[in-house]
Amino acid sequence: MALPKYTELHYRIWHYVYLTICAAVFFFLVAPLFVIFPLSFNAEEFLVFSDGMKRLDPDAFSLRWYQDMIYGTKNPWGLAAKNSFIIAIFATIGSVILGTVAALGLSSRHMPYKGLIMAVLISPMIVPLIISGVAIFFFMAKVGLAATHTGIVLAHIILGTPFVVITVTATLSGFDHSVTRAAASLGSDPVNTFMKITLPLILPGVISGGLFAFVTSFDEVVVVLFLAGLENTTIPIQMWTGLREQLSPTILAVATCLIILSTLILVTAELLRRRSERLRGINR
């Protein structure tokens, strides 16, 4: 963004003001995430930077909260992590299968009432979570699935499918349908065509939809608050309870792990997006 030499002074000033504003906004966006890192290594029990930490004294830092997270007897983080992963994995599988199949139908040009059906399928993403939580709780209580893993997995499939539908339909919009016709004319049945031709081509979209579904489930707390019993506790539930009751540095240790996890997911999603754009020949 170098300015041409002939730029007048007041535009020059304005340009730097603009860049400063942008820097401030980026700082506002990202900086809060970085307070968590150092504080999770705090040797003391308070959630403020101790004088030792400000002096970078090595004794002021410790791994005790990470130890507490893993070995602490009172902490249910182990159970919560196990539940979170099990629920998120099954919810992702369910969302990806249902969402991808539906997206295939939706991107067919023969699909009747496309707009209406799309609006219904996307609605769980738009409706405020608290309302979804109440509605899904009523349903699960009625069919006897409240406070079960199955119930929570089903609830997260509901919340996760819109993301898969959106990403996969977006990928399919650039999809060249003549390749499937070519496969069919060469004698391939539809299932074989899908597995060998369509799926590999739309895979980046499917995986990034799956990542969205995974994160949605892994991070979801409102609906789980209504559905979960003691045995179904998840990481978000534990964090919620912890943040409401006693804000201990152990939560920051967990939060650090979550930030690392989300960074990994972000990198994967970005790489996939670029690969998909390259494959579809979109050059930006």
Binding site: M1, G115, L266
Partner: protein, 417 residues
């Protein structure tokens, strides 16, 4: 020439038009069958339960089922004077049945909602009715307490006859139906819900404005920078987007606390004195700051995707035609970004209006929204029908915005990341 000779036939002798229609229909069914599993799943587990909420919110069968004979006999009563003997008789028999089933307590609670003063007279009736003689129930019931001889109380019972009610919705906007059936406001000092609705709208509105003001410059920067820099900066937008909501809320709780870094900074630059640190958490400020940061990516992404499509030559053309850069921006660039502004603002507003977690953690008493009230009634007071009614009122608002969004942006144009 007759029309038959004009018709083109396929090899099996069927007219082409018919054959094409058949193929078309087959394709339609095929496409629909692919969507059907998810559609059915969503309808059964999601759309119907929302319908169930609607039923719960208007359901008032409890009293209707408790006093079936009474309401039947009341049909002929005009409500002017005291009801005739048959109503009293029917009420007596219904009431005896309730005593047998030990449900008269529930009846008194329910009737007390409609009119204060039922609790004690039902208790008294329960005691006295054991020694009632057969016949002339009107006299006997009226002698239990003078309120049983007051026509107002019988009218109150009659008002509970329908199995459906919209009382919960009135309660949601701090109104109620009085004895005469007029809809009036509750006393000023008890209007809690209107304050909450207004506050929800206010916070959602200002969060949207703040998000817009902050997102516009950075989206512009991202869209105009060369790819290799903008990709790096894009991560700054996407990282918070992918990070757990609770983690982000936790970091704001640390930053905004009285001994937190933000206050430390203010003390350091001399904005506030050390013993007079600002309270930025557990109030509206907390909700504003945290929600703006959390929802900011949802504004940046739609703006960015629109700005990306605007050719830089347009601005150059504007300038070459004699506009100053500001004029060129305002007359050329800005109007072109309006679709992105619309999409981003509606998205952020929809998300903000239903926010629950962040206000509950950093909002305190003055920063909570309508969602928190719904959760409170679901979990603490267990008034599920009221929670449902409030939820549906919120939902109808969101659906209006959703509809607008669909009109302006098109629901299939939502982009993620």
């Amino acid at each position: 020439m007759s029309s038959e000779t004009k018709q083109i036939l396929t090899t099996d002798g069927i007219p082409l038009e018919v054959s094409l229609k058949k193929a078309e229909k087959k394709n339609k069914i095929k496409a629909f069958l692919l969507v059907a599993p998810l559609l059915l799943f969503i309808i059964i587990t999601y759309v119907f339960p929302i319908g169930d909420m609607l039923m719960r919110s208007v359901d008032d069968k409890m009293v209707t089922e408790m006093l079936p004979k009474t309401f039947k006999s009341m049909e002929k009563w005009d409500g002017q004077d005291l009801p005739p003997e048959e109503v009293f008789e029917a009420f007596y028999f219904d009431f005896q049945k309730l005593i047998e089933e030990e449900r008269e307590g529930k009846l008194s609670t329910q009737l007390n909602y409609t009119k204060n003063g039922f609790k004690s007279i039902i208790k008294k009736l329960r005691r006295k009715s054991k020694s009632f003689e057969e016949g002339n129930y009107k006299e006997q019931i009226m002698s239990v307490h003078r309120r049983w001889a007051d026509v107002e109380y019988w009218r109150a019972i009659k008002r509970r006859a329908p199995s459906y009610t919209y009382q919960k919705y009135l309660k949601g906007i701090d109104m109620y139906e009085n004895e005469k059936g007029e809809i009036i406001n509750v006393p000023e000092d008890r209007r809690v819900h209107r304050i909450l609705w207004m506050r929800t709208l206010e916070i959602a509105f200002f969060v949207t404005v703040f998000c817009f003001l902050m997102a516009y410059p950075i989206a512009h920067l991202l869209a105009t920078l060369p790819m290799k820099y903008s990709n790096l900066l894009m991560i700054c937008v996407l990282l918070p987007f992918w990070t757990s909501l609770l983690v982000r809320t936790a970091s704001w709780m640390i930053l905004l606390q009285q001994q937190g870094i933000v206050n430390d900074f203010f003390v350091m630059i001399g904005l506030v004195s050390d013993d007079n640190r600002l309270e930025m958490m557990f109030n509206k400020t907390g909700s504003y700051v945290a929600m703006t940061q959390i929802l900011l990516p949802f504004m940046v992404l739609p703006l960015y995707s629109v700005m990306k499509t605007i050719s830089p030559s347009l601005m150059r053309a504007g300038k070459s035609l004699g506009g100053t850069p500001f004029v060129a921006f305002w007359k050329v660039y800005f109007p072109l970004t309006i679709p992105g502004i619309g999409a981003g603002c509606l998205l952020v507003f929809i998300l903000a209006i239903g926010y629950y977690i962040t206000p509950a953690l950093v909002g305190g008493a003055s920063g909570t929204l309508i969602s928190n009230q719904i959760a409170f009634h679901m979990k603490s007071t267990l008034d599920w029908s009221f929670a449902s009614a409030m939820g549906l009122m919120l939902l109808s608002g969101v659906l209006v915005i959703y509809w607008l969004y669909n009109k302006l942006v098109g629901i299939d144009n939502i982009k993620l990341g």
